[in-house]
Protein backbone atom coordinates (compact mmCIF):
# COMPACT_ATOMS: atom_id res chain seq x y z
CA UNK A 1 0.00 0.00 0.00
CA UNK A 2 1.56 3.27 -0.96
CA UNK A 3 1.83 6.34 1.22
CA UNK A 4 -1.01 8.30 -0.37
CA UNK A 5 -3.47 5.45 0.05
CA UNK A 6 -2.23 4.95 3.61
CA UNK A 7 -2.91 8.58 4.53
CA UNK A 8 -6.36 8.49 2.94
CA UNK A 9 -7.30 5.21 4.53
CA UNK A 10 -6.04 6.30 7.94
CA UNK A 11 -8.05 9.51 7.94
CA UNK A 12 -11.22 7.77 6.80
CA UNK A 13 -10.79 5.03 9.37
CA UNK A 14 -10.25 7.56 12.16
CA UNK A 15 -13.37 9.46 11.16
CA UNK A 16 -15.44 6.30 11.12
CA UNK A 17 -14.36 5.54 14.67
CA UNK A 18 -15.32 9.00 15.83
CA UNK A 19 -18.45 9.53 13.82
CA UNK A 20 -19.63 12.50 15.85
CA UNK A 21 -17.28 14.84 14.04
CA UNK A 22 -18.74 14.06 10.65
CA UNK A 23 -22.31 14.26 11.85
CA UNK A 24 -21.76 17.62 13.56
CA UNK A 25 -21.06 19.39 10.29
CA UNK A 26 -24.08 17.81 8.66
CA UNK A 27 -26.43 18.79 11.44
CA UNK A 28 -25.01 22.28 11.52
CA UNK A 29 -25.93 22.65 7.86
CA UNK A 30 -29.45 21.44 8.55
CA UNK A 31 -29.93 23.78 11.48
CA UNK A 32 -28.58 26.84 9.68
CA UNK A 33 -30.71 26.22 6.62
CA UNK A 34 -33.75 25.86 8.83
CA UNK A 35 -33.07 29.03 10.78
CA UNK A 36 -33.50 31.36 7.84
CA UNK A 37 -37.15 30.70 7.07
CA UNK A 38 -37.81 31.05 10.78
CA UNK A 39 -36.04 34.36 10.88
CA UNK A 40 -37.37 35.78 7.63
CA UNK A 41 -40.81 34.34 7.08
CA UNK A 42 -42.38 31.46 5.22
CA UNK A 43 -43.51 33.08 1.94
CA UNK A 44 -42.58 30.60 -0.77
CA UNK A 45 -41.65 33.20 -3.38
CA UNK A 46 -39.17 34.96 -1.15
CA UNK A 47 -37.71 31.73 0.17
CA UNK A 48 -37.14 30.50 -3.33
CA UNK A 49 -35.28 33.68 -4.18
CA UNK A 50 -32.93 33.57 -1.23
CA UNK A 51 -32.45 29.79 -1.24
CA UNK A 52 -29.30 29.56 -3.40
CA UNK A 53 -27.46 32.09 -1.28
CA UNK A 54 -28.51 30.61 2.03
CA UNK A 55 -27.79 27.02 1.10
CA UNK A 56 -24.40 27.96 -0.32
CA UNK A 57 -23.38 30.04 2.69
CA UNK A 58 -24.70 27.36 5.05
CA UNK A 59 -22.65 24.65 3.32
CA UNK A 60 -19.64 26.94 3.37
CA UNK A 61 -19.88 27.60 7.12
CA UNK A 62 -20.49 23.93 7.91
CA UNK A 63 -17.44 22.92 5.90
CA UNK A 64 -15.39 25.60 7.61
CA UNK A 65 -16.19 24.06 11.00
CA UNK A 66 -14.11 20.98 10.42
CA UNK A 67 -11.23 22.66 8.56
CA UNK A 68 -9.53 23.83 11.71
CA UNK A 69 -9.00 20.25 12.75
CA UNK A 70 -7.58 19.11 9.44
CA UNK A 71 -3.96 19.16 10.53
CA UNK A 72 -4.23 19.95 14.22
CA UNK A 73 -4.42 16.38 15.51
CA UNK A 74 -1.58 15.22 13.26
CA UNK A 75 0.52 18.15 14.39
CA UNK A 76 -0.03 17.35 18.04
CA UNK A 77 0.69 13.64 17.95
CA UNK A 78 3.68 13.77 15.63
CA UNK A 79 2.20 12.12 12.55
CA UNK A 80 2.54 15.35 10.59
CA UNK A 81 6.28 15.29 11.22
CA UNK A 82 6.48 11.78 9.87
CA UNK A 83 4.55 12.84 6.77
CA UNK A 84 7.07 15.63 6.22
CA UNK A 85 9.88 13.08 6.42
CA UNK A 86 8.24 10.69 3.99
CA UNK A 87 9.96 9.97 0.66
CA UNK A 88 6.59 10.64 -1.00
CA UNK A 89 6.33 14.36 -1.85
CA UNK A 90 4.35 16.17 0.80
CA UNK A 91 1.90 17.88 -1.62
CA UNK A 92 0.64 14.42 -2.58
CA UNK A 93 0.09 13.44 1.03
CA UNK A 94 -1.66 16.75 1.63
CA UNK A 95 -3.90 16.11 -1.36
CA UNK A 96 -4.84 12.77 0.20
CA UNK A 97 -5.79 14.48 3.45
CA UNK A 98 -7.82 17.09 1.60
CA UNK A 99 -9.62 14.37 -0.33
CA UNK A 100 -10.45 12.62 2.93
CA UNK A 101 -11.75 15.89 4.37
CA UNK A 102 -13.96 16.45 1.36
CA UNK A 103 -15.33 12.91 1.46
CA UNK A 104 -16.22 13.37 5.10
CA UNK A 105 -17.64 16.89 5.09
CA UNK A 106 -18.15 18.36 1.61
CA UNK A 107 -19.71 15.33 -0.05
CA UNK A 108 -22.31 14.68 2.69
CA UNK A 109 -23.31 18.35 2.59
CA UNK A 110 -23.74 18.28 -1.17
CA UNK A 111 -25.78 15.05 -0.90
CA UNK A 112 -27.98 16.60 1.75
CA UNK A 113 -28.59 19.83 -0.14
CA UNK A 114 -31.51 18.59 -2.30
CA UNK A 115 -33.33 17.56 0.86
CA UNK A 116 -32.85 21.00 2.36
CA UNK A 117 -33.84 22.55 -0.95
CA UNK A 118 -37.29 21.10 -0.34
CA UNK A 119 -37.67 23.46 2.57
CA UNK A 120 -37.22 26.33 0.16
CA UNK A 121 -39.57 24.97 -2.46
CA UNK A 122 -37.01 24.56 -5.24
CA UNK A 123 -37.80 22.46 -8.28
CA UNK A 124 -35.85 19.37 -9.23
CA UNK A 125 -33.84 21.04 -12.00
CA UNK A 126 -32.58 23.62 -9.54
CA UNK A 127 -31.87 20.94 -6.97
CA UNK A 128 -29.63 19.19 -9.45
CA UNK A 129 -27.67 22.36 -10.20
CA UNK A 130 -27.43 23.06 -6.47
CA UNK A 131 -26.06 19.60 -5.85
CA UNK A 132 -23.40 19.74 -8.59
CA UNK A 133 -22.37 23.28 -7.75
CA UNK A 134 -21.95 22.33 -4.10
CA UNK A 135 -20.03 19.23 -5.08
CA UNK A 136 -17.49 21.41 -6.89
CA UNK A 137 -17.66 24.24 -4.38
CA UNK A 138 -17.06 22.17 -1.26
CA UNK A 139 -14.10 20.48 -2.95
CA UNK A 140 -12.70 23.92 -3.78
CA UNK A 141 -13.23 24.98 -0.19
CA UNK A 142 -11.39 21.91 1.10
CA UNK A 143 -8.35 22.75 -1.02
CA UNK A 144 -8.35 26.46 -0.19
CA UNK A 145 -9.18 25.89 3.43
CA UNK A 146 -6.32 23.44 3.82
CA UNK A 147 -3.88 26.25 3.03
CA UNK A 148 -5.52 28.40 5.70
CA UNK A 149 -5.51 25.53 8.18
CA UNK A 150 -1.81 24.97 7.57
CA UNK A 151 -1.00 28.66 8.01
CA UNK A 152 -2.87 28.87 11.32
CA UNK A 153 -1.62 25.55 12.70
CA UNK A 154 -0.95 25.82 16.41
CA UNK A 155 -1.67 29.54 16.43
CA UNK A 156 -3.74 31.09 19.21
CA UNK A 157 -7.30 31.76 18.11
CA UNK A 158 -6.59 29.75 14.99
CA UNK A 159 -10.14 28.70 14.18
CA UNK A 160 -11.60 32.17 13.87
CA UNK A 161 -8.45 33.41 12.19
CA UNK A 162 -8.84 30.62 9.66
CA UNK A 163 -12.28 31.89 8.72
CA UNK A 164 -10.99 35.44 8.36
CA UNK A 165 -8.22 34.26 6.06
CA UNK A 166 -10.22 31.89 3.88
CA UNK A 167 -13.60 33.54 3.41
CA UNK A 168 -12.38 36.50 1.32
CA UNK A 169 -10.49 34.11 -0.95
CA UNK A 170 -13.58 31.98 -1.27
CA UNK A 171 -15.88 34.75 -2.46
CA UNK A 172 -15.42 34.02 -6.18
CA UNK A 173 -16.57 30.44 -5.63
CA UNK A 174 -19.56 31.68 -3.68
CA UNK A 175 -20.47 34.19 -6.38
CA UNK A 176 -20.32 31.71 -9.24
CA UNK A 177 -21.73 28.77 -7.33
CA UNK A 178 -24.86 30.47 -6.11
CA UNK A 179 -24.98 32.33 -9.43
CA UNK A 180 -25.29 29.01 -11.24
CA UNK A 181 -28.25 28.00 -9.12
CA UNK A 182 -29.92 31.36 -9.62
CA UNK A 183 -29.39 31.15 -13.36
CA UNK A 184 -31.15 27.81 -13.41
CA UNK A 185 -34.00 29.22 -11.40
CA UNK A 186 -34.65 32.07 -13.84
CA UNK A 187 -34.29 29.76 -16.81
CA UNK A 188 -30.91 30.97 -18.06
CA UNK A 189 -27.97 28.75 -18.74
CA UNK A 190 -25.64 27.89 -15.88
CA UNK A 191 -22.89 26.49 -18.08
CA UNK A 192 -20.57 29.48 -17.81
CA UNK A 193 -20.71 29.58 -14.03
CA UNK A 194 -20.11 25.84 -13.74
CA UNK A 195 -17.16 26.03 -16.09
CA UNK A 196 -15.59 28.82 -14.10
CA UNK A 197 -16.20 26.95 -10.86
CA UNK A 198 -14.60 23.83 -12.36
CA UNK A 199 -11.64 25.86 -13.57
CA UNK A 200 -11.14 27.35 -10.12
CA UNK A 201 -11.33 23.88 -8.59
CA UNK A 202 -8.68 22.58 -11.00
CA UNK A 203 -6.38 25.48 -10.17
CA UNK A 204 -6.88 24.98 -6.46
CA UNK A 205 -6.35 21.22 -6.72
CA UNK A 206 -3.12 21.81 -8.60
CA UNK A 207 -1.55 24.63 -6.61
CA UNK A 208 -3.29 24.28 -3.28
CA UNK A 209 -1.48 21.17 -2.00
CA UNK A 210 1.82 22.70 -2.99
CA UNK A 211 1.14 25.93 -1.07
CA UNK A 212 -0.26 23.88 1.80
CA UNK A 213 2.86 21.70 2.05
CA UNK A 214 4.99 24.84 2.17
CA UNK A 215 2.83 26.27 4.95
CA UNK A 216 3.07 22.98 6.88
CA UNK A 217 6.86 22.97 6.65
CA UNK A 218 6.85 26.53 7.96
CA UNK A 219 4.70 25.41 10.87
CA UNK A 220 6.96 22.44 11.61
CA UNK A 221 10.21 24.38 11.77
Amino acid sequence: MNAIAAVLQRDLRLAMRRKSEVLTAVFFFVVVASLFPLAIGPEADMLRKIAPGILWVGALLASLLSLGRLFAADYQDGTLEQMALSPTPMPLLVAAKVLAHWLLSGLPLALLSPVLALQFDLDSGTMWVLFTSLLLGTALLSFLGAVGAALTLGVRGGEVLLSLLILPLYIPALVFGSGAVEAQMVGMGYGAQMSILSAMLLLAAFFGPWACALALRIALE
Partner: protein, 246 residues
Protein backbone atom coordinates in the same frame (compact mmCIF):
# COMPACT_ATOMS: atom_id res chain seq x y z
CA UNK B 1 27.60 40.88 -12.25
CA UNK B 2 29.16 39.54 -9.07
CA UNK B 3 29.76 43.06 -7.84
CA UNK B 4 26.18 44.02 -8.54
CA UNK B 5 24.88 41.04 -6.57
CA UNK B 6 27.15 41.73 -3.64
CA UNK B 7 26.03 45.34 -3.50
CA UNK B 8 22.34 44.38 -3.36
CA UNK B 9 22.86 41.83 -0.63
CA UNK B 10 24.81 44.40 1.34
CA UNK B 11 21.66 46.46 1.65
CA UNK B 12 19.64 43.37 2.51
CA UNK B 13 21.34 43.15 5.88
CA UNK B 14 19.24 44.92 8.50
CA UNK B 15 22.33 46.54 9.92
CA UNK B 16 23.10 48.33 6.65
CA UNK B 17 19.52 49.04 5.71
CA UNK B 18 18.71 50.74 9.02
CA UNK B 19 20.80 53.89 8.44
CA UNK B 20 19.84 53.99 4.75
CA UNK B 21 16.16 53.97 5.66
CA UNK B 22 16.87 56.62 8.25
CA UNK B 23 18.30 58.94 5.64
CA UNK B 24 15.62 58.26 3.04
CA UNK B 25 12.34 58.51 4.88
CA UNK B 26 12.42 62.24 5.70
CA UNK B 27 13.20 62.91 2.05
CA UNK B 28 10.14 60.95 0.89
CA UNK B 29 8.04 62.49 3.60
CA UNK B 30 8.89 65.93 2.33
CA UNK B 31 8.03 64.99 -1.25
CA UNK B 32 4.74 63.59 -0.01
CA UNK B 33 3.85 66.77 1.86
CA UNK B 34 4.72 69.05 -1.05
CA UNK B 35 2.85 66.98 -3.62
CA UNK B 36 -0.16 66.61 -1.37
CA UNK B 37 -0.40 70.35 -0.94
CA UNK B 38 -0.10 70.88 -4.68
CA UNK B 39 -2.73 68.23 -5.36
CA UNK B 40 -5.13 69.66 -2.81
CA UNK B 41 -4.68 73.14 -4.24
CA UNK B 42 -5.35 71.89 -7.76
CA UNK B 43 -8.24 69.76 -6.65
CA UNK B 44 -10.03 72.23 -4.48
CA UNK B 45 -9.25 75.58 -6.05
CA UNK B 46 -8.34 75.07 -9.66
CA UNK B 47 -10.38 72.15 -10.96
CA UNK B 48 -13.74 73.26 -12.28
CA UNK B 49 -17.07 72.39 -10.74
CA UNK B 50 -18.37 69.19 -12.22
CA UNK B 51 -21.22 69.51 -14.67
CA UNK B 52 -23.31 66.81 -13.03
CA UNK B 53 -22.04 66.35 -9.52
CA UNK B 54 -21.44 69.84 -8.19
CA UNK B 55 -18.76 70.41 -5.58
CA UNK B 56 -19.16 67.14 -3.72
CA UNK B 57 -17.29 65.23 -6.39
CA UNK B 58 -13.99 66.68 -5.21
CA UNK B 59 -13.60 63.87 -2.75
CA UNK B 60 -12.50 61.68 -5.64
CA UNK B 61 -9.13 63.41 -5.42
CA UNK B 62 -8.62 61.41 -2.27
CA UNK B 63 -10.81 58.39 -3.02
CA UNK B 64 -9.30 57.31 -6.32
CA UNK B 65 -5.62 57.71 -5.35
CA UNK B 66 -6.34 55.88 -2.09
CA UNK B 67 -7.85 52.97 -4.04
CA UNK B 68 -4.87 52.86 -6.36
CA UNK B 69 -2.45 52.83 -3.43
CA UNK B 70 -4.35 50.11 -1.61
CA UNK B 71 -3.81 47.83 -4.60
CA UNK B 72 -0.23 48.94 -5.30
CA UNK B 73 0.79 48.35 -1.70
CA UNK B 74 -0.72 44.87 -1.72
CA UNK B 75 1.29 44.08 -4.83
CA UNK B 76 4.39 45.50 -3.14
CA UNK B 77 3.77 43.23 -0.16
CA UNK B 78 3.46 40.24 -2.47
CA UNK B 79 6.66 41.31 -4.23
CA UNK B 80 8.63 41.51 -0.97
CA UNK B 81 7.15 38.18 0.12
CA UNK B 82 8.30 36.64 -3.14
CA UNK B 83 11.81 38.06 -2.61
CA UNK B 84 11.79 36.68 0.91
CA UNK B 85 11.01 33.16 -0.25
CA UNK B 86 13.49 33.29 -3.10
CA UNK B 87 16.47 34.76 -1.27
CA UNK B 88 15.59 33.84 2.31
CA UNK B 89 16.42 37.35 3.57
CA UNK B 90 15.05 38.54 6.90
CA UNK B 91 14.55 42.08 5.68
CA UNK B 92 11.97 41.05 3.06
CA UNK B 93 9.61 39.79 5.73
CA UNK B 94 10.11 42.96 7.73
CA UNK B 95 9.30 45.13 4.71
CA UNK B 96 6.11 43.17 4.03
CA UNK B 97 5.02 43.66 7.62
CA UNK B 98 5.98 47.35 7.49
CA UNK B 99 3.81 47.94 4.42
CA UNK B 100 0.68 46.22 5.69
CA UNK B 101 -0.73 48.86 8.09
CA UNK B 102 -0.33 51.64 5.52
CA UNK B 103 -2.05 49.51 2.88
CA UNK B 104 -4.89 48.73 5.25
CA UNK B 105 -5.20 52.42 6.06
CA UNK B 106 -5.52 53.38 2.39
CA UNK B 107 -8.10 50.66 1.83
CA UNK B 108 -10.11 51.96 4.75
CA UNK B 109 -9.71 55.54 3.49
CA UNK B 110 -10.93 54.46 0.09
CA UNK B 111 -14.00 52.80 1.57
CA UNK B 112 -14.74 55.72 3.84
CA UNK B 113 -14.36 58.38 1.15
CA UNK B 114 -16.40 56.17 -1.15
CA UNK B 115 -19.21 56.24 1.38
CA UNK B 116 -18.87 59.99 1.91
CA UNK B 117 -19.12 60.46 -1.82
CA UNK B 118 -21.97 58.03 -2.24
CA UNK B 119 -24.29 59.62 0.29
CA UNK B 120 -24.87 62.94 -1.50
CA UNK B 121 -24.73 61.28 -4.94
CA UNK B 122 -26.97 58.25 -4.52
CA UNK B 123 -28.52 58.80 -1.11
CA UNK B 124 -26.93 55.71 0.40
CA UNK B 125 -23.84 55.29 2.57
CA UNK B 126 -22.97 52.07 0.85
CA UNK B 127 -23.69 50.69 -2.59
CA UNK B 128 -22.63 47.29 -3.83
CA UNK B 129 -20.61 48.65 -6.70
CA UNK B 130 -18.01 46.29 -8.16
CA UNK B 131 -15.03 48.43 -7.24
CA UNK B 132 -16.23 49.29 -3.75
CA UNK B 133 -17.03 45.65 -3.05
CA UNK B 134 -13.60 44.61 -4.27
CA UNK B 135 -12.07 47.24 -1.97
CA UNK B 136 -14.02 45.79 0.92
CA UNK B 137 -12.68 42.31 0.18
CA UNK B 138 -9.15 43.75 -0.15
CA UNK B 139 -9.64 45.27 3.30
CA UNK B 140 -10.46 41.79 4.64
CA UNK B 141 -7.29 40.46 3.00
CA UNK B 142 -5.19 43.11 4.74
CA UNK B 143 -6.88 42.40 8.07
CA UNK B 144 -6.23 38.69 7.60
CA UNK B 145 -2.54 39.31 6.99
CA UNK B 146 -2.20 41.58 10.01
CA UNK B 147 -4.15 39.17 12.21
CA UNK B 148 -2.05 36.19 11.16
CA UNK B 149 1.31 37.89 11.63
CA UNK B 150 0.25 39.27 15.01
CA UNK B 151 -0.98 35.90 16.24
CA UNK B 152 2.25 34.03 15.52
CA UNK B 153 4.91 34.54 18.18
CA UNK B 154 8.01 33.40 16.34
CA UNK B 155 9.03 36.29 14.03
CA UNK B 156 10.52 34.06 11.37
CA UNK B 157 7.43 31.90 11.16
CA UNK B 158 5.22 35.00 11.18
CA UNK B 159 7.15 36.45 8.24
CA UNK B 160 7.03 33.26 6.19
CA UNK B 161 3.41 32.40 6.93
CA UNK B 162 2.35 36.00 6.27
CA UNK B 163 4.40 36.05 3.08
CA UNK B 164 2.70 32.91 1.80
CA UNK B 165 -0.68 34.39 2.66
CA UNK B 166 0.19 37.61 0.82
CA UNK B 167 1.25 35.65 -2.27
CA UNK B 168 -1.87 33.47 -2.26
CA UNK B 169 -3.96 36.62 -1.79
CA UNK B 170 -2.20 38.48 -4.58
CA UNK B 171 -2.90 35.65 -7.01
CA UNK B 172 -6.53 35.71 -5.94
CA UNK B 173 -7.09 39.46 -6.25
CA UNK B 174 -7.70 39.47 -10.03
CA UNK B 175 -10.02 36.46 -9.67
CA UNK B 176 -11.92 38.23 -6.90
CA UNK B 177 -12.22 41.42 -8.91
CA UNK B 178 -13.43 39.54 -11.96
CA UNK B 179 -16.04 37.62 -10.00
CA UNK B 180 -17.31 40.71 -8.20
CA UNK B 181 -17.60 42.58 -11.50
CA UNK B 182 -19.56 39.71 -12.97
CA UNK B 183 -21.80 39.59 -9.92
CA UNK B 184 -22.37 43.31 -10.09
CA UNK B 185 -23.27 43.46 -13.79
CA UNK B 186 -25.60 40.51 -13.40
CA UNK B 187 -27.49 42.13 -10.59
CA UNK B 188 -27.37 45.58 -12.17
CA UNK B 189 -25.96 47.23 -9.11
CA UNK B 190 -25.13 50.88 -8.88
CA UNK B 191 -22.03 51.99 -10.64
CA UNK B 192 -19.74 54.52 -9.10
CA UNK B 193 -18.24 56.26 -12.04
CA UNK B 194 -15.86 59.12 -11.92
CA UNK B 195 -16.48 60.38 -15.41
CA UNK B 196 -20.13 59.66 -15.91
CA UNK B 197 -21.41 61.71 -18.79
CA UNK B 198 -18.50 64.09 -19.09
CA UNK B 199 -14.88 63.56 -19.91
CA UNK B 200 -12.56 64.51 -17.12
CA UNK B 201 -11.03 67.95 -17.30
CA UNK B 202 -7.25 68.01 -17.47
CA UNK B 203 -6.89 69.66 -14.10
CA UNK B 204 -8.95 66.95 -12.45
CA UNK B 205 -6.66 64.29 -13.87
CA UNK B 206 -3.55 66.17 -12.83
CA UNK B 207 -4.86 66.63 -9.31
CA UNK B 208 -5.56 62.91 -8.99
CA UNK B 209 -2.15 61.96 -10.35
CA UNK B 210 -0.38 64.38 -8.05
CA UNK B 211 -2.29 63.05 -5.07
CA UNK B 212 -1.47 59.50 -6.11
CA UNK B 213 2.24 60.39 -6.23
CA UNK B 214 1.92 62.07 -2.85
CA UNK B 215 0.33 58.96 -1.37
CA UNK B 216 3.00 56.82 -2.98
CA UNK B 217 5.81 58.91 -1.47
CA UNK B 218 3.99 58.86 1.87
CA UNK B 219 3.73 55.06 1.75
CA UNK B 220 7.43 54.70 1.08
CA UNK B 221 8.26 57.10 3.89
CA UNK B 222 5.96 55.28 6.33
CA UNK B 223 7.24 51.84 5.32
CA UNK B 224 10.87 52.92 5.74
CA UNK B 225 10.11 54.53 9.08
CA UNK B 226 8.19 51.52 10.33
CA UNK B 227 10.76 48.99 9.16
CA UNK B 228 13.35 50.78 11.27
CA UNK B 229 11.31 50.06 14.39
CA UNK B 230 10.81 46.47 13.32
CA UNK B 231 14.55 46.06 12.74
CA UNK B 232 15.35 47.41 16.18
CA UNK B 233 12.91 45.04 17.84
CA UNK B 234 13.94 41.97 15.86
CA UNK B 235 17.67 42.54 16.13
CA UNK B 236 17.69 43.75 19.71
CA UNK B 237 20.17 41.10 20.79
CA UNK B 238 22.85 42.14 18.35
CA UNK B 239 25.65 44.42 19.35
CA UNK B 240 24.99 47.16 16.83
CA UNK B 241 21.43 47.64 18.08
CA UNK B 242 22.56 47.83 21.66
CA UNK B 243 25.03 50.51 20.66
CA UNK B 244 22.30 52.44 18.87
CA UNK B 245 20.03 52.19 21.87
CA UNK B 246 22.73 53.32 24.27
Amino acid sequence: MENFKIRWFHWAAPQSFYPLAGRLWPFFGLIAAVMALAALYLGFFVAPTDFQQGEGYRIIFVHVPASWMSMVIYLAMAFWAFLGFTFNTRLSGMMTQALAPTGAMFTFLSLWTGALWGKPMWGAWWVWDARLTSELILFFLYMGYIALTSAIDDPRRADRAGGLLALVGAVNVPIIYFSVKWWNTLHQGASVSVTKGSSMAHTMLWAMLLMALAFWAYSIAMALYRVRSIILVRERHTQWVQEVAA
